[in-house]
Every structure is written in structure tokens, then in C-alpha cells.
Amino acid sequence: MSGYGSPAAGVVAQAAPLARQATVWAGSHQAPLLDAARLALARDLQLAFRKRGQLVQPLAFFAMVTMLFPLAISPELARLREIAPGVLWAGALLASLLALEFLFRDDAYDGTLEQYALSGQSLTWLIFAKTAAHWLLTGLPLALMAPLAALSLGVSDAAVPGIVASVAVGSVALSLIGSIGAALTLGIKRSGALLSLLTLPLSLPVLIFGARATQLAISGGPLLAPLELLAALAVLGVTLAPLAAAAAVRISLE
Amino acid sequence: MSQFLEMGGYAAFVWPAYAVTLGAIVLNIVWARRALARSREEARRRLAMRGEGA
């Protein structure tokens, strides 16, 4: 693993022998396919940990958004508790949107995406790996941070597991939907506003079910139904979004 | 006639609704024709630039 200096080299150097191996294992393409995806995932995580500043930005943004509401509305915990699900989900949605701009940008600039597309590996799987890394770096931390924000809004600690579960599952769907928008806007300058315009309408079902699950978690109601709907959206996203995002990446490389 | 214009007291809602929709129709006609004219102008310019003469 000497190639981390130039990010493209790492995976490509790994991917080439893998592709050769794939022809040897002509019977089962499965194993090398997943290996390449796993390497791409590991690479993205490692690169992200080198730029910790960027990693913290969405989380800090989320904390700031949460702080805006007590200041703008009222410090009364009773009122804040009522709006907590909306605050948490609007904050999570915006924070994940903020992080999306970085999902493909650096890899598009330095040619890594092009190498991925030419590597002979399934681009869909590689894009899926990148999206998975994105979720691990933003969605999961947001899910772990959401209870802190919730507690600061006067929510009782009994709601914590439900909130973590709903944000964790919902943010999977958000990352996947966002990956399509991020891939489509590759190469457009100042794409931030456009990316929100493309991604937010498609994310509304996640917001609706996520906020509902969080609300039920806070009030102690049965939150399984909205949580299952969130999971269904995440599964649908896992099956379809990487295909669409990979197609969009290919279009941007043409 | 004035009774017709009053729309049974709903004039303030009925007429703006019709105006907006007819406005959308008219704008669509104008925009479409303008877009076609622009595309033709653009095509003419492309031909001229290649020296094939318009």
C-alpha cells in the first residue's frame, strides 16, 4: 500500500491484478468484485481521516443548526421538545447535503473516477463503496450526535435508541439519494445550490418518515412502522441509486 | 354583463385564476417561438462561421 500519496494509484495498482485474477476465477466474478469495492471503501476512509477538518464540518454545522432554534424560537424546553423531531431532521438533511459536495469532487479532479471507470471493475460497486464510505463518515456520526442535540432540546433519554436508529437508517437513504445528485452535478462550477435543488425534493420521503419515527421515539409510541418504511427506502436506494449514480458518473466522464 | 363579471361574489378569485392560466398559455406560445427563432439564429451563425455562407 505505497500509493497513498497519489490517491488514484492505490486502488488502480490494486485493481489491475484483481482484474487479472478475475479472469482466472472466470467461474465466480463475485469475490474480486467485492474486493475492489472493499479497497475503494478503505481508501476513502483513510483519505478522509487525513483531512479531519473536513470530516468535522457537517457535524459542526448540524450542531449550529440545532442551536439556532432555541435562540430563534424560545428557550422553553416544553416548546423545543415539540419541534425537536423537525429540528433534528432538517438539520441532518442539510448537514448530509453539505457533505455531498465532497463525495465525488476530489476524485473527479485528480482522475481517480476516470481510473475507476476504466479499471474493468464494476463502476456501480465502486460508486456504492464510495457512498458507503460517505455514510460512515457523515450519516453514522450524525446518528450518534443526534441524541446529544435531542437532549439539548429537552427530550428525555428514553428516546435515545429510537433517535439513533431512525437517523442511522434514514441517513443511509439520504447518502444514496445524494450520490445521484452529486454525480449529476460533477464538473458544474458553484454547484451547491443546484445540488440542493436536485436532492431535496427526492429526499422528502426520508424527512417525513424520519421525523415521524423520531417523534414517536420521543413520545414513546410504536415507531416500528415509520422505521420500516425508512428501511424500505434505504433498501430501494441501495438497489437503484448506485446504478443511477454510476450512469451519471460515466456521463460526466464522456 | 356586470353580473357575469361579478361571478356571484367570487370575481376576486375566478378572474385571477383565469388570468394566470391564460397568461401561462400566452407565455408558452411566446417562449416557444422565441426559442425556435434563437435556435435558427444560432444555426445560421454556425453555418456562417464555417464559411458555408448563410
Binding site: I188, L229 | F4, V14, A17, T21
Partner: protein
């Protein structure tokens, strides 16, 4: 042999000429139907027994709402055809649809608000249909924004086609989720207007308007399509004949 018409639809000069020839066949019937529908809806139809003359907004609201959905469907189908079979003309159709659909979605929202105020007592109700319509407007704006952001026509075509197809997969999910969300929050006090079967004198103008708007969409689409076909043609000599005509 039966497929020759289909193949000719992939040929820009043929499509350009066909679109020019067909436009009046859509435009004039559309004009007649819309004028007839306006006359029938504003003058001939009797006032509604519940809503008085306020119900006449339906003759502009329903056709606009119909257009917003029908145009989006047309756009997504054309985009998918263009993406799968790499047909330029299909992309040109999709690109032509977006501004038309967006303008009628806007009209549907405004007329809906103007109908809501006298009937529900509020311009805006977070009703699932209004909310879905608003989201549809954002989908149109996103599609147009993406096209505007990409300078290369071919890339704009294919990228926006992916977006249109993703959008059409999402529209039912969005609609379902909005309905579900609304059923949780809807106050039961809002007046729901029971729709008894419509009298023919009320229904016929509505059908005229729906058909008239659909034909109008066809006419505008054909005019826009000619421009979009020209934009995509770089080298063909037939352009010379057209621009000099």
C-alpha cells in the same frame, strides 16, 4: 416495413419537417376547444349548488394540474427512450417538455390557491395534492437547472435524462409519503367537498378544456422540438435550407 415510420423519427430533417407540418393541426383544434371550453365553463354551465360561481376555477385548475403530470410523464418517457436507445430526437423532446410543464405546474398551484381561499378559507393548505404539486415544480426546476448548468448539449441530455427517470421513480413514493404524512396531521375540520356526479353541462366544458390543453401541449412541444433538433445538429446541410428559408 411497418417499422420505417419509427426509424424515420430518428432522422432530424424528417422530424423537423414533420413537426412544422403537424403544428397547425394541433394549434387550431386546441384554440377552438379552449375557446369552446371557456364559453361553456364561464357562461353555459350553471353555478354549483355548493360553491356558486367559485367552482368555475376548476376549468383552468384541473387542466393545468393534468398538464403538470402528463408533461412530466412525457418528459420521463422521452428521456428514458433517449438514454436507452441513444436517440437524439427523444432527448430533444424531453428538453422541450420541461419549461411547458413547469409553467403549467405553477399555474396549477396559483389557481389551486385561488380556489382554496374562498372554499377552505385559506390560500395554502398543506394538502397532499398541493404539496405534491409544489414538489413537482421543484423537480421541474431542478431538471431545468441541471440542463442550464451543463454546457455540452449531449452531456446535458444524458445527465438530465437520468434525473428525469430517477424523478419518475420517486414521484409515487413522494406522493405516498405526503399522503401518509398528511393523514397524520390533517385537522378533520377542513371542509372536504363531496363531489356528486357532475351534470353534463358542467362536465363537457371540462373535457373540452382537458383535450384543448393536451393539444396545446402538442403544438408548443412541436415548435420547441424544431429548435431543439436544430441545436443538436452540427453538420447537416439541410440546416442551410432551413435557416435560409
Amino acid at each position: 416495413m411497418t417499422w420505417t415510420w419509427f426509424h424515420r423519427l430518428g432522422s432530424p430533417p424528417y422530424v423537423y419537417a414533420l413537426a412544422a407540418r403537424l403544428t397547425p393541426w394541433f394549434a387550431w383544434p386546441a384554440a377552438l376547444l379552449i375557446i369552446g371550453g371557456l364559453w361553456g365553463g364561464l357562461v353555459l354551465a350553471p353555478p354549483d349548488y355548493q360553491q356558486g360561481d367559485g367552482f368555475r376555477i376548476i376549468y383552468v385548475h384541473a387542466p393545468s394540474a393534468w398538464m403538470s403530470l402528463m408533461v412530466y410523464t412525457t418528459m420521463a418517457v422521452a428521456a428514458a427512450v433517449g438514454l436507452i436507445w441513444r436517440i437524439k430526437v427523444a432527448h430533444a423532446v424531453a428538453a422541450s417538455c420541461a419549461p411547458i410543464g413547469a409553467s403549467f405546474t405553477f399555474a396549477a398551484l396559483v389557481t389551486g390557491a385561488l380556489w382554496g381561499e374562498p372554499m377552505w378559507g385559506t390560500y395554502w393548505e398543506w394538502d397532499p395534492r398541493l404539496t405534491s404539486e409544489l414538489i413537482l415544480l421543484f423537480l421541474y426546476l431542478g431538471y431545468m437547472g441541471l440542463r442550464a448548468g451543463l454546457e455540452d448539449t449531449q452531456r446535458a441530455d444524458r445527465a438530465s435524462a437520468v434525473l428525469a427517470v430517477v424523478g419518475v421513480v420517486n414521484v409515487p413514493i413522494i406522493h405516498y409519503s405526503v399522503t401518509w404524512w398528511n393523514s397524520l396531521h390533517q385537522a378533520p375540520s377542513v371542509m372536504r367537498l363531496a363531489k356528486p356526479t357532475m351534470a353534463a353541462s358542467m362536465l363537457v366544458p371540462l373535457l373540452l378544456m382537458l383535450l384543448g390543453f393536451t393539444l396545446f401541449f402538442g403544438a408548443v412541444l412541436l415548435v420547441r422540438l424544431r429548435g431543439e433538433v436544430l441545436n443538436r445538429e452540427r453538420s447537416a446541410s439541410w440546416i442551410r435550407e432551413i435557416v435560409n428559408a
